[in-house]
Symmetry: C2
């Protein structure tokens, strides 16, 4: 990646020189020069790595609603103050707290073997240890066909396939059905517990956690456990050999009442249009198994560092740049819904919103779906980002990131700086999501792209609303 850094710095310089001669009207030469300087500075800066190193090391895992997430909010406030933001605050909200607790799961027939599993978010505990025969289903479609109460006393196992690695993360939503709603069929069948193949693209012995979906207002009344892909392969091979399987399971995961969480808000107040807000951010909470480096310490580092570089410019951009460190994303976008509700009255002041929450690999595409004039602005920004290896992308934008969904649903315009997600689902929600998985140069490329594009949007007079 050292090579990328050198190449891109060189390319940034040459593009800048070439475009000085024939600048389009939507971006001034001075703005372009500033954006280019921001990119160069970002590519040479260690700030992003310093932020994500500090968050993952000094705070560690930070489950939504936990004491650790509170420490992370204090950390975020201090960070914002030290980096020169004009205004820093926490907006609190309340939420139900689910705690993973201790789990033990092992194969007991045809022989004793430990399985590497973890409870899925929202799962009920075992009242006492369960040891039951396994009913094998090749996928969730097979399970969906069962009759009510036909699985009494069984532990259901939903197999499936390992996710294919892809740049875009395609396939996650589909594979995730067994994690999201598998329990509804297993519970309808009267099963004692559900075990599912992890939703991930790795063949390591790590389970992937993640939240289940409610059925209306109801959470699962049975324990639901994800096991690693190699463990699922093992069960499949044994099943295919005709071996009767049984599993022993003890899980303490449960709901523990209402707690506090919050969103950390860091503002660079706009110099001309302070009420117009360009919102970027990531989520501050993480799953508890890893230290939340890739998901989403990286997003916090990328967006905070990008804004911090803009803060060092001699003058604030015209519009306000707001970094939101959302709370309790993993457990149901709770910070995002709280933000959209708490800011309902002034969401029409949010001229644009986007989130970094897809790891720390390089950004390869800038997508937008805006009005014609705004589209031209984004086209010009894409040209400025092109030395970073970023191409202009299509029109179908899925909401600007998970935490942007609630405000996008209320009309806030969005763009996406799409990251390469090829390795993302190797690490996603596993114990293996740790700092060593982040490449500093790839992180710096993200910061360069955010700094330049967000600066240009914030300093623009172009209207981004439909």
């Amino acid at each position: 990646m050292q090579q990328l850094k050198r190449l891109t710095i060189g390319a940034v310089l040459s593009i800048f020189s070439a475009q000085l001669l024939a600048a389009p009207a939507l971006i001034t030469n001075e703005q372009k020069q500033t954006a280019t300087q921001l990119m160069q500075t970002a590519l040479k800066s260690d700030l992003g790595m310093e932020i994500v190193t500090s968050l993952t090391t000094e705070i560690g895992p930070r489950l939504g609603g936990s004491e650790a997430e509170k420490r992370a909010r204090d950390w975020g406030l201090k960070l914002g103050e030290s980096l020169g933001f004009d205004k820093t605050q926490v907006e609190e909200f309340t939420m139900p707290f689910w705690d993973r607790g201790h789990l033990h799961i092992s194969l007991t027939s045809p022989y004793q073997q430990e399985l590497y599993g973890t409870a899925l978010g929202g799962a009920a505990p075992t009242k006492k240890s369960i040891n039951a025969d396994v009913e094998y289903f090749r996928d969730i479609h097979a399970l969906a066909e069962i009759k009510d109460n036909s699985l009494k006393g069984k532990i259901v196992f939903i197999d499936g396939d390992m996710m294919v690695k892809s740049q875009t993360g395609a396939g996650y939503g589909q594979a995730n059905q067994r994690r999201r709603i598998g329990w509804q069929h297993a519970q309808r069948g009267g099963a004692s517990a559900l075990v599912v193949r992890s939703v991930g693209s790795d063949s390591h012995r790590f389970p992937h956690s993640g939240m289940m979906s409610k059925d209306g207002e109801k959470w699962a009344e049975i324990p639901v456990i994800a096991i690693s892909n190699p463990d699922a392969d093992h069960l499949r091979r044994l099943h295919n050999l005709g071996k009767p399987l049984s599993i022993s399971l003890h899980s303490e995961s449960k709901w523990k009442g209402e707690v506090s969480s919050g969103n950390v808000i860091l503002d660079l107040i706009g110099s001309e249009k302070p009420d117009e807000i360009v919102l970027i951010g990531g989520h501050l909470d993480s799953w508890d198994l890893g230290t939340g480096a890739v998901d989403d310490g990286a997003g916090i580092a990328i967006t905070t560092a990008a804004a911090a570089l803009i803060a060092k410019l001699p003058k604030r951009p015209k519009r306000t740049i707001r970094v939101v460190m959302f709370g309790a994303e993993e457990v149901g976008l709770l910070g995002a819904f709280a933000y959209a509700k708490q800011h309902e009255a002034n969401l029409n002041n949010h001229v644009l919103a986007t989130e970094s929450d897809f790891g720390a690999q390089t950004i390869w595409q800038l997508e937008s779906n805006l009005n014609p004039q705004a589209t031209l602005l984004i086209d010009e920004i894409a040209k400025i980002l092109s030395p970073l290896g970023i191409v202009r992308g299509g029109a179908d934008v899925p909401g600007g990131g998970p935490d942007i969904i609630p405000m996008a649903a209320k009309g806030v315009p969005t763009i996406r700086l799409n990251q390469n997600g090829r390795d993302y689902f190797d690490l996603h929600h596993t114990p293996d999501d740790t700092l060593d998985k982040i490449d500093p140069d790839e992180l710096a490329q993200n910061i360069a792209a955010y700094a330049a594009s967000i600066y240009l949007i914030a300093d623009s007079d172009v209207e981004l609303k439909p």
Copy 2:
């Protein structure tokens, strides 16, 4: 790897044709033709994968001395019978049994975080849970300098460095000192427990298990735990920030008295010199965290499949080919010492011995350190193996493999078919040592090399002794 398979089959054919014209005296044209056919058959055969799939799936993890290892011996006998070996037997021995039991280890200061650890072989249990301050040592050399009784009430952490990946596994012995004898210094210092950075070349959240060394006849009297490389990185970063560390630890690992183990012995009886034995093998036991695919299901599969292909030839080679599935290797080469003792009287009939116990990646080098005539034979064999990508290697042979050490010490000649070990210490002794890590084509290349070379040695009249 499909490409390798096609290329090597083609290359085998062309080398064979070329050498028909000028065959050296030590190997006949007929022998060369047979060896070449064995290689071609091996590269196209699924037998090796079938064996390692069956062992890891139908038996699973098989700690030395466990009930699972007994099931593995029964499996080995049946396998030998089904593959046409002339004689199959188990030679039993007794051994002390160490059981890992349950472990819980977490960081408790500066905050609560789970650590991914495992007890090292031979470690004592915690009498009750320990929660103690951590004394950090950058490496074992720093720990070795402490004064007796200067670490009372502390948990010692020995850091170190992640192993560098290498083809030969260089660096393992040196890094392994903290695992082997670190406890002796910690115990001398009066520490309550020892935690060490895992000896491995991966940056995944898996601890690497492994046996400690005795101090004379004494095993450790304190708990000793290996933690994953990312966890060790985390502790190092916190230590470097000046944070006081404390750890909570509960471990049930302990010695549980004498049990039975055994070596499975499968013979192809020689057609002319049945008393002369060419011994190959692997070890049947595995660490309990994974399913022992790479260590050493692969070695069992490679050597058994190679001999099984030779068993299908119209005529047995002149000398006896013996496959030994050694028991209890991981816990101190116990099967190897038992074999050398039980066969003490006829070890001089063992004309050569070698073991496959370095994973499942391709063989790249054939090494020997034999008498001049035997060296010429091995030179010729290396030429025949060269289409597989195997080069002739140096003279310094470290004993033919771990289980060969005791018999090599008593004068049995050895060779090594050196495997590429680049990925070996990513998986070694971790939960991640599972079937999916084996590439079928790389495994087949190993079998091709073993089948050809062992056939040629067993069918030779060349004396291999000094």
